[in-house]
Symmetry: C2
Subunit: 495 residues, 2 copies
Amino acid sequence: MTSRDGYNWTPATGLTAGVPSIGVIHPPTNISSSEVLYDVIVVGAGYCGLTAARNAAAEGLKVLLLEGRDRIGGRSWSSNIDGYPFEMGGTWVHWGQSNTWREMTRYQMTSEVERSFDFSYGVNHYELNMGEKGYTMSHEKEDELLISALNKFTNIDGVYGRNTIPLPYSPFHTAAARDLDNLSAQDRINSITPSLSPQERAALESFVLLCSGATLATMSFHEFLHWWAMCGYTYAGCIDMLISWKFKRGQSSFAIRFFTEALATKRLSYAFNTPVAHIHDTGASVEVTTRAGVCYRAARLISTLPLNVLGDVSFDPPLSPGKRAAIATGHVNQCVKVHAEISNKHLRSWTGVAYPHNELMYAIGDGTTPAGNTHVVCFGGDNKHIDPEVDVEATKRAVSNMFAQQKETPQIERLVFHNWSKDEFAKGAWFFPPPGLVSSHLGDLRERHGNVLFANSDWALGWRSFIDGAIEEGTRVAYEVKTELAERERVRSSL
Amino acid sequence: MTSRDGYNWTPATGLTAGVPSIGVIHPPTNISSSEVLYDVIVVGAGYCGLTAARNAAAEGLKVLLLEGRDRIGGRSWSSNIDGYPFEMGGTWVHWGQSNTWREMTRYQMTSEVERSFDFSYGVNHYELNMGEKGYTMSHEKEDELLISALNKFTNIDGVYGRNTIPLPYSPFHTAAARDLDNLSAQDRINSITPSLSPQERAALESFVLLCSGATLATMSFHEFLHWWAMCGYTYAGCIDMLISWKFKRGQSSFAIRFFTEALATKRLSYAFNTPVAHIHDTGASVEVTTRAGVCYRAARLISTLPLNVLGDVSFDPPLSPGKRAAIATGHVNQCVKVHAEISNKHLRSWTGVAYPHNELMYAIGDGTTPAGNTHVVCFGGDNKHIDPEVDVEATKRAVSNMFAQQKETPQIERLVFHNWSKDEFAKGAWFFPPPGLVSSHLGDLRERHGNVLFANSDWALGWRSFIDGAIEEGTRVAYEVKTELAERERVRSSL
């Protein structure tokens, strides 16, 4: 099946919208009548919504899952081109990500992963293009450079953040952590600038921007330090947990397991291509109205809409001032992720940076495609933002600029990407907050609103903005809804 | 409620058997009739059995949970003396332990933890007693000593095991890993002896024995390296993940959540004080006979019996040769864990080793009791094994010997412990395998036997022998049983 989402470019076909994915659901709905009172309606079929819907259905609730897209997965999905998975959004998993790994263990999928990095052959080095100047160094030197730079960046307490964020699942466990949320990454870099070599600074800034998809000035320093704490306070931990292991058959091979399990309960109704417009909590139940004007009712509703699109649905009664303030602020990740197939270089073992001059700033060799080409994945952000489909030649130049230290111009055979910034159901990539947003509004974002619960990776406690955070949140609200509906049932049956 | 398990000694009361715990279940059974066909019988109410029973009941199955003890938790439970939790077995948790942390997140308990270590006041150092000689050093020096020693011990591939165990959830992912399972820890130490200082060797050996509860000759080197890989291949990771964070209200405050949730489904029948004697798979169903001669039937049975007691139940048809060979081998952990309350020293910030001469070899300050005493937890193993209740004065001497570098004799106000070696339902502490057991029989141990499934932390893939592995395994088999019973239902209803 082919999704409407994503773009594919080859010299032969030019740019085409839509790519195949095993995450596209057919038939797009199994609803026969709208005259049903559900136990719970779940809005959104990303990992958070899938988890909530699956758990609720498995535990006996009658569930309706509504999704605006034609596919599951939200901001994490894989296209499947000639059987090769290109990850369009969230990609990597690790056993340090508790919710993700628990699900992978339950589905017995823990061996269905492979490494992104493979430093064993071909162009096997790190390339640091800094505009005027450029350097080539071994991966060992790359590690030394980044360890040195990141240790300076994170060492706000003499122990690399350990005392400041000792228990990362406990938000702002220390007052010092809360203070750090007032700083941007730029603020922190300014305070350590004299200690950074030019290479350290370019490597550090591009790595930090790879995490945020934002600009140094718009991203919270605390949020980066929170990632760092989740990764065990080391660069090696960051590499292990953030960017090492991916599904051999793509993210959608994982997401589909949740959907299939939910469907097998026979308690899951669903409708794709069904964006919601309005959510009305009457007190007795919740009514959701789709953009097409169809109304569904349930005892509870779980919204898994991301922060940046939560304001596009109207709520009656209106959302709390705290939620509205958070929505007005929004998150700042406008990551640009572009896959390229390259035929004339063995780049499987290459990593590179082109910063600050280039539209794409960080790239790695990520696989070998069925055609025998190297698959390179490149990342840009809001610092020099592009819409890759608007000018494909410019996008190709941005890819080529990643290899400026190499004589031979790369032969680009394919580009694959999803423009998350222009995606009406995302308006950005994974959550990354500006200074102050999380310390001011994490509690607001997690708060329920009458019979409406809000779950999203954007306000998870642990791996916030990761797949793991989405599963964490879906698990949380499904448990909450199940527990209170069971209690309601208990009270009723005892009357 | 007071459990039969555990011992408490004070100067006033002397030694008494049985300690209070919130994990004791009353009434001990809710079964009204044995004339019921269950969907699944779960044998054992440790974390593995609790997880399996909870998941199965929550997902619609009719469950019977049978337990030989008077309490939940198996090898992990907390006594509750004057409101203070002493951890009788498995204690520590961390967000790198995916199954445990997922459950803690689901129950919103991630802030209900506190640190074991608190290096801030009083006797604030590391004490290394080596018999004839003894040393006192700062905790920073302790870390340096152990990092140096452990890096030598684990560095079998130039990258501290990373290449040998790159994906620890995939058993023996490399041939080199499999080869290492033929080595004992003693074999490995013999090969690096020239590089170790006497202090490094004592610190290393006592740390390694703390992990295994065995002897250096009887414990697999691979299994230790597998722990090391799970901890991110660093000593800091080991400390973080193995021994840092514990429940403020004790392990039983976590375990009881599983039981309470299962009970709330109204699909859980249970019987404590009900050891099983015989399990008969007729093909059509499984019959379990208790030691008291009562028989129960179910479509499936999940045995969560640990390896060292699996042979005490008879199976018809008999278990496979592979399982029987593993049972005949058994695991080698005979850890001795003794809590002591000490009134005349501020030992909250102290850690110490007394090795190889003493019956207890590793201890830390672990809390302050309601009486204002320091709570110190001490560990011994099979290398100089004792049964602490047999000679309390000798046990007190072994505790006192931990403090040989300190002039003042410790004033011991209380001892609390569980003799796992003499426990008929455990016959040892957490699983630790001898060389060859895991590489030869991991598959055998995980294999089902007709309608009988076997789940235990002892053969988990990830945090094998941890609470996390128990939850991993309970989750695995509950999913397997649910899926196949649902399929049976589907086929039946389509006939």
